[in-house]
């Protein structure tokens, strides 16, 4: 059974069709990249997977671990192991990063029938993960994403992913706005989370990220459809030729 199976997915926003029949299958252990020009529907796909309101599913199905993902509320999806690293992480004033992580982790552990971690265990676990992403205690004490630089926000998203240990991780333009050093740190963090049980969907505009996180499959999304799929070499080809070939064929 595939971990994630998207079939003929059609999505409209305010009566305008954005996704026009997506088919995509991810197996456990796989990393797929979705590339495409601006406005091709990449972020829409990530939000639909996470269950954001405002997107009308007009046709198609999404099955996650064999279950109907679209029937689940956003928090239920999260507790079942779907994680979205946001392109624009949201500020939550007054809520320390550490508090947020703990609240989220306990919500997940409750779902999984595990008890709440005690404070010492939790601290140790988070610090180990944070260190790899060069996140210090000071940053964990600050209000979530408030006044964070672009790089700090993205590293913090990957930290949340590391702590929440999802089954399916969708990374929406996690590379955007990062300088090369920050990109390496984030990529190392993501690579460390690759595992045979976990699937990842990398949504990116640029091939650059894929130098550091090498995908098993690459898909090109254009005009709401997957226009082409291939191995990692497809990304290099896109880098060379650009998206012109796909922009031409208007829907």
């Amino acid at each position: 059974m595939a971990l994630l199976e998207i079939k003929n997915l059609h999505v409209a926003v305010d009566d305008r069709e954005i996704l026009k029949g997506i088919d995509l299958t991810l197996d456990a252990g796989e990393v797929h990249a979705i590339m495409g020009p601006n406005g091709s529907g990449k972020s829409t796909l990530s939000y639909v997977l996470a269950g954001r309101e405002g997107y009308a599913i007009t046709a198609g199905t999404i099955r996650f671990q064999g279950k109907d993902l679209l029937a689940m509320a956003p928090d239920e999806r999260a507790r079942k192991g779907v994680f979205l690293a946001f392109q624009y992480p949201v500020e939550i004033p007054g809520v320390a990063g550490m508090t947020f992580l703990k609240t989220a982790l306990n919500a997940l552990r409750k779902e999984r029938g595990a008890g709440e971690l005690d404070a010492m265990q939790f601290l140790k676990f988070v610090r180990a993960q944070a260190k790899r992403l060069e996140i210090g205690d000071e940053m964990l004490k600050r209000a979530l994403n408030v006044g964070f630089s672009g790089g700090e926000k993205k590293r913090n998203e990957v930290l949340q992913m590391a702590v929440l240990e999802p089954i399916l991780a969708v990374l929406d333009e996690t590379d955007s706005g990062l300088d090369i050093d920050a990109l390496k740190i984030v990529a190392d963090g993501v690579n460390a989370l690759r595992s045979p049980e976990r699937a990842m969907l990398l949504i990116t505009h640029y091939q650059r990220l894929l130098d550091y996180i090498v995908p098993d499959r690459v898909h090109v999304l254009a005009h709401g459809r997957i226009a082409k799929s291939g191995g990692k070499e497809l990304a290099l080809e896109l880098e060379r030729k650009g998206y012109g070939e796909f922009l031409g064929e208007a829907a």
Partner: protein, 484 residues
């Protein structure tokens, strides 16, 4: 959209939950006839075997009250109060007062149990003394001994009238005069009980003092009166918290709290208020018209008010500080939550009289449903308040698009050396924030609670630890069903 309809339905089911603390204890009460008159004032005074001077004071207040206009300047709406359609005295039957917990009506103890009042050993472990007010008469006061060793007096006002008349005579009405406002005036005439605290010179009160109020008998207005005196160099932290049973009629609650801090003394007064707010249409909630004021009489004295207001149909409350002593400090930290049809008009007054007096106001208003939330604050710097400073921060958070938030700051400075700062913000809980939290596994309610607690953090962290935990939970519960 399918998912949003689903969300709405789910939220509706949460909103429909009955008020969690709505239960009524069936207990014999000794009730005065309905209505208000000089006879009732005399009846109350007689039942309490009060000295002549106190009855005279009550009557003076009553006669003044008759001619006094209702305060109409606040941003709240409600039908005119019918003062004759209420009871002004009701007391649990044990008139002689119990000698120990064994003598207390078991049903009463059960009520406290439901409320989580830590009496007996639980209280000892928690380090909290409880002067529990059931309706209008104190029935149990714990830890008196431990406090007595330090010379701390913590008892009901009625008891203090009998045992410490000189303190009552000297201080009662000295911060809130009987003619202060219509509600305080009524309280002065008909107050039935409340708490009295005296901390002697140089004593740091060994425990947090705590009182749980609970309105129980139907149609009994509650008129508590609290008086706290911190003598020179002393310190006390006082906690007040309350929940009330479900009621159909509006219940008037007009309390008066007076604090007096002498030289180098400090009083910290914390409140968590969760009275019945009425149903979603606002029917049956409590009217909370309270006058709270502290006088920093001595040099270097300090009074800090912290309040978390989540209940009542209408809240009309301005815990204030009169900064009389040089270098005295007044603080006001407030969280006011209004949901459904609740209305709150709350804030503070900082009156700077002495030199180098400082005040700090942090107010967090949260409005959801169709509620209205007003911050009203006065900072007054008098001519002699050389070097006075005030900092005010007023933040409003809106949930949904049918509620209101209003900020009404009054600033009067009559000393050119004074510095007054005022900052205000208004924000909304955004869809983005909610979605972000839910994507991390938090339910809608958990997400709202987390965001609101973050918004209120600066205030919550001024509360004593156990109280802060209770307050955090309360904020979540109060806003259940507010997002949809």
């Amino acid at each position: 959209m399918a998912s949003s309809i689903d969300t709405r339905e789910r939220l509706q089911s949460v909103t429909d939950q009955a008020y969690k603390y709505g239960f009524v204890t069936d207990i014999d009460t000794d009730v005065a006839p309905k209505g208000l008159s000089e006879d009732i004032v005399r009846f109350i005074s007689a039942r309490k075997a009060e000295p002549e001077w106190l009855l005279a004071w009550r009557l003076k207040a009553y006669r003044h009250w008759l001619a006094m206009p209702e305060p109409i300047w606040s941003h709240v709406k409600f039908p005119a109060l019918d003062y004759q359609d209420a009871y002004y005295y009701s007391a649990p039957k044990a008139t002689d007062g119990p000698k120990s917990l064994d003598e207390v009506d078991p049903k009463l103890l059960e009520t406290y149990e439901k409320l989580g009042v830590p009496l007996g050993e639980r209280a000892l472990l928690a380090g909290v003394a409880v002067d529990a007010v059931f309706d209008s008469v104190s029935v149990a006061t714990t830890f008196k001994k431990k406090l007595e060793e330090k010379g701390v007096i913590f008892c009901s006002i009625s008891e203090a009238v009998q045992k410490h008349p000189e303190l009552i005579k000297k201080y009662m009405g000295s911060v809130v005069p009987y003619a202060d406002n219509k509600h305080a005036c009524l309280n002065s005439a008909v107050f039935t009980d409340g708490s009295f605290v005296y901390i002697p010179k140089g004593v740091r009160c060994p425990m947090e003092l705590s009182t749980y109020f609970r309105i129980n008998a139907a149609k009994t207005g509650q008129f508590e009166r609290t008086l706290i005196i911190a003598d020179a160099g002393s310190y006390v932290s006082y906690l007040e918290g309350c929940t009330a049973p479900m009621r159909d009629e509006n219940q008037l609650h007009a309390a008066v709290v007076e604090l007096i801090a002498l030289d180098d003394a400090e009083i910290k007064y914390s409140t968590v208020q969760n009275w019945y707010p009425g149903d979603v249409e606002g029917r049956g909630g409590i009217y909370n018209f309270v006058t709270k004021r502290g006088a920093c009489r001595g040099r270097n004295s300090k009074i800090a008010w912290t309040q978390v207001e989540t209940g009542s149909a209408i809240t009309w409350k301005y815990p204030s500080c009169i900064l009389q002593g040089d270098n005295s400090v007044g603080e006001f930290y407030s969280v006011a939550v209004t949901n459904n049809r609740q209305q709150a008009d709350t804030g503070t007054k900082m009156i700077h009289i002495g030199r180098n007096t400082r005040s700090r106001i942090i107010s967090k208003g949260i409005s959801a449903g169709r509620a209205d939330n007003t911050y009203r604050g006065l900072v007054r710097i008098l001519p002699k308040a050389e070097g006075a400073r005030n900092y005010t921060q007023c933040d409003s958070l809106l949930i949904g698009d049918r509620c209101g938030a209003h900020t009404v700051p009054y600033i009067e400075s009559r000393n050119p050396s004074a510095r007054v700062e005022h900052e205000a913000t208004t924000s909304k809980i955004s869809e983005d924030q909610l979605f972000y939290c839910r994507q991390r596994g938090l339910s809608q309610e958990e997400a709202v609670s987390l965001i609101v607690n973050g918004f209120c953090k600066e205030v919550l962290q001024t509360l004593p630890m156990e109280f802060a935990v209770e307050a955090q939970k309360l904020l979540g519960v109060s806003l259940e069903g507010s997002v949809g």
